[in-house]
Symmetry: C2
Subunit: 352 residues, 2 copies
């Protein structure tokens, strides 16, 4: 079944995709259908705004990413940025650029993923914009969230002796990407019906294809009354993000290799690919876990917290940023994190 987008037109397509969307949040006064969305936030809230531009061939490869997953992930990575400010995502706008390759059914899939993410995180879609593109799929999502006034957590508040915490585990999304890229290369030119065997590697694929934002961690921190001094989400790799926090907070850090949380499947895959496991966890990217610092007085509260690991501490700036290996050696941390402008992105699809 393939319905050409031209049969609906721009406005018809938006109407079709956004049909039945009902605002759930009190701060959403008017959603799709006018020159702008209208929001209303009480005076004790701060309004948080983040935006992400995703381009086919650079940020995603549709040969192995299902459109529904792509929609889900595109929304969730924006929610993650709002949680990383200690806020709650409330609204998103979605702009799409589509080439003729895409039909109405494709956009239904993509939107189904976006809507699923919005339901799961209680976020309203308040704006939609669709236009034609000559070059694949472009997705631009802006997310608006709220935070309690005075409770917003920035990257620049880490203090000497603060503890460094990370949620979940690292490197799995990167390993999932390697796995998908390998299968893509293997399957090139072979029978399209061959299904790759991902048994035992489901976690890696899920981390790459359907990441979640750590709403639960923010809630747990609130519950025990811990206010992080600095926080960000890990999208470019632990090393890169740690260096952002340290440079913006004007401090140094010590991180212990043995404490970096890594899943068993990630370790098995690194072995299979003959990659250094710690390097993968430090520089892999797309983890969407939270990296945060807390005062040392909160040690017990975070040490016992489900899904949170203490990986090191903040130091004086003169000491720099270093990794302490299992055998006690000190290495300077380097942000070799995923830099899409340096290496042309994380996929290998030249299209220009």
């Amino acid at each position: 079944m393939r319905t050409e987008i031209a049969t609906l037109g721009e406005f018809g397509l938006i109407d079709h995709l956004t049909e039945g969307i009902q605002p759930k949040n009190e701060s959403t006064r008017y959603g799709i259908g006018d020159d702008a969305a209208v929001l209303s936030y009480p005076a004790d809230k701060e309004v948080l705004v983040t935006t992400d531009l995703l381009l086919e061939g650079v940020h995603f490869d549709l040969t192995y990413v299902p459109l529904k997953h792509l929609g889900y992930k595109a929304a969730v990575v924006n929610f993650s940025d709002i949680y990383a400010m200690n806020g709650t995502p409330k609204q998103i706008t979605v702009s799409l650029g589509l080439s003729k390759r895409f039909c109405v059914e494709d956009m239904e899939e993509l939107y189904a993923g976006i809507r699923l993410a919005c339901e799961a995180y209680n976020v309203d879609i308040v704006g939609g914009d669709t236009c034609s593109s000559y070059t694949g799929l472009t997705i631009s999502i802006t997310c608006i969230g709220e935070g309690e006034k005075g409770k917003t957590v920035y990257r620049n508040g880490a203090k000497e002796t603060d503890l460094i915490c990370v949620s979940g585990d690292l490197g799995a999304a990167y390993m999932g990407l390697q796995l998908l890229e390998r299968e893509k290369a293997v399957l090139k030119g072979t029978d399209k019906d061959v299904q790759p065997d991902f048994a035992g590697k489901e976690y890696l694929l899920e981390r790459q294809l359907k990441p979640e934002a750590r709403k639960d961690i923010i809630e747990r921190l609130h519950k025990v009354g811990v206010q992080p001094t600095a926080m960000m989400d890990i999208s470019d790799g632990l090393s890169s993000e740690l260096m952002h926090i340290c440079s913006q907070s004007k401090v140094g850090c010590r991180v212990y290799e043995e404490h970096i949380p890594i899943d068993y499947q990630t370790a098995v895959m690194a072995e299979e690919f003959n990659m250094n496991l710690t390097t993968c966890a430090l520089n892999g990217g797309e983890d969407y876990e939270l990296l945060f610092t807390v005062p040392i007085a909160d040690h017990e509260k975070v040490a016992d917290m489900e899904g949170v690991k203490l990986i090191g501490h903040i130091t004086k700036p003169e000491l720099g940023c270093a990794l302490i290996t299992r055998d006690g050696q000190e290495f300077e941390l380097k942000a070799q994190g995923w830099n899409p402008l340096k290496n042309g992105g994380n996929t290998t699809e030249p299209a220009e």
Copy 2:
């Protein structure tokens, strides 16, 4: 002079482009440099959000659009959407996707245009995101504005007997586009140093390349105490926008051909191109003028207003939407407005 973007990297480029940006608005608490921007609006304000995605080859053609103008226009069209809600633009975020064709100096030009627009309209740049693209230039801008609570003007408030008003004049931006397209075709294959002669057509080019948002009209309406019942900005053409207002307000309208404001240069160009002038003014698009309705009691206030023309009135829905020609005939209005999904955009650059 050409500096490759890779020499700065993603973060370096953003730092470079946004250097020296200081927030001017009280509602901007924290701009570029964290996971999200932090805004704070008082409780008597509504927060307005609009977004626009611009793709090279679809929305702009760099063979005749200078990057600085493109940046200016990309920002201003978003401001226009906020004014069209009876609001004031306050913040924007800017996401860019760049292919290797672009260098640091190109991005300086683009950003110079965006920053110029932000200075002219007193708007803060609070977020920037840059990534590589395989396919030309992608610009995604989100604008946040504020409106007085209860004073926001939607498209759905027009009432029977309301007067229909439009600011400025129509069709000039479309004629400017035709002119640029013609010169591009003429110059194809000729000496690149040949400079086209645009003497006497400056206004058309300015309307196409450097449109302004009608902040002044909003201020004039406030000053005389006129609150429009419905309003939107004209981006897809008067016909299309009138039909949006009428269908969302569940009313009809009568518009008089003789009252549609058209500049002398637009008329001359239409003659030269052998185009129907009224059709150009009705369906041209990209005017970024304001279309609004006011109660008939405000007749005198708007009739005398500089830069505003009365072009018709709102009717019962049963009467439909019609244009009354100079010779008194009635034609049903049709939205043949610029639909980028139907005709593949307003330029002719196939790139896929």
